[in-house]
Symmetry: none
Subunit: 244 residues, 2 copies
């Protein structure tokens, strides 16, 4: 099986020996990518890969046994289980810093990751050096985000006055949340208007306000987030049975 790869064992015997290298665990279901990141990291004097894992279960045991300073995890290990893993890790090892590596667009998953306890979010499309930058930033206890997203999140925080953890969805009014939910269930503007016995214009107004509060630019983004939210709500609990 995937017995830990050749590159993991780096003897501290080179001229520029690693005195107290930062210990890193990589969690990703793509062996090729693990190899790439591992190589990249082990080329650095102050960084060192001490473990790899390809799924959530192996990740926890790997962390337990190798005691890393940072975990670099891909949250798209089978959809939701990525965020789940992140939560589990933070529950068991609260002091462990976690940098999330994802192939998906930040706008959808980044804030979920941060809320789940991640210290940073970086996309696989990013240049390799950015990964090192992010790792070091996270190590210093700072949060790594892309320029674009960082600005946007600050914006949300300022505009929505929500403290670190709260989702901007909290800022929606009752009516807005209702509309948002209907959008997420796949209804268009007109059907929503009819269902609520309101003018189409009113629904448009609500949509605009929702976009504003959630910091979204286009209608497509709105729909995307709405569907995402409805989905996650369904997962979160059966206790949220407020039908109709």
């Amino acid at each position: 099986m995937k017995t830990s790869p050749s590159s993991a064992a780096v003897p501290a015997s080179v001229s520029t020996a690693k005195k107290n290298p930062t210990r890193i665990v990589i969690v990703d279901d793509h062996p090729l990518l693990r190899k790439g990141v591992g190589q990249l990291i082990n080329n650095e004097k102050d960084l060192m890969v001490v473990g790899e894992a390809e799924d959530a279960a192996k990740a926890l045991t790997a962390i337990e046994s190798s005691r890393p300073d940072v975990a670099l995890i891909d949250i798209s290990l089978g959809g939701a289980s990525g965020i789940e893993l992140l939560k589990n890790i933070k529950a068991r090892f609260p002091k462990l810093q976690v940098l999330v590596l994802s192939m998906h667009d930040e706008s959808v998953y980044a804030h979920r990751a941060l809320r789940a306890g991640a210290s940073g979010y970086i996309m696989k499309q990013e240049a390799t050096e950015k990964v090192l930058t992010a790792l070091r930033k996270v190590l210093r206890g700072e949060v790594y985000l892309s320029e674009r997203l960082g600005a946007r999140m600050l914006n949300t925080l300022v505009g929505g006055r929500s403290p670190s953890g709260t989702s901007p969805i909290e800022a929606l009014s009752d009516r807005e949340l209702e509309v948002f939910s209907l959008i997420g269930q796949g209804h268009g503007t007109r059907p929503i208007a009819e269902k609520l016995h309101l003018s189409v214009k009113t629904i448009e107004s609500h949509r605009a306000h929702i976009k504003e509060k959630l910091n979204l630019q286009t209608a497509t983004e709105l729909v995307h987030h709405a569907i995402q939210w409805v989905q996650s709500e369904r997962v979160v609990g059966a206790e949220a049975a407020h039908s109709e």
Copy 2:
């Protein structure tokens, strides 16, 4: 741009010199993965990376200039135009062997890739050595497929039709599936048109055809299904990691 990485320049002067190494070009939008595959390949005596590219356009120029024997391409380049690129490559360089590397479940894309001219299909979840196996097999003019999929395809050929999981999505053409996928990733009509360098009208046409084939009535429904599908694809892909 991505001038071939440190390890790419391997002078043929080592004891075990590369006499006639197979020349390989890697096309993938994840720098980290390119690094991983590149390292893996350059560790082999008979293989050698002679070029990298991160998108379709760069891929064609890279192939043109470096004249590889094999191209290893990811068909999910930014979620788009992977199959298109494959077709273009085979149109311009018919004799070039192409091995498709994908993070998606084989069952959806593999046969499309083969029909488009690929000589093999391998998933990123596969073990690293499998990539080498696949490369060498493709080099010998054979077709590489996973055990599971190979059997299934034979089955399909003999039996006439796919066994059970025939989703209506199978009915979509390559281009349509591409557009469908982009919709599912949250992109609007215009951005898709720009990304694919096509007229907005063309995308609208594709959307219409997709709706027809999937039996959808409204645009909202289309978006809803597309997002749903992209989501489920990710889960399926990850769970299919336990091949063999």
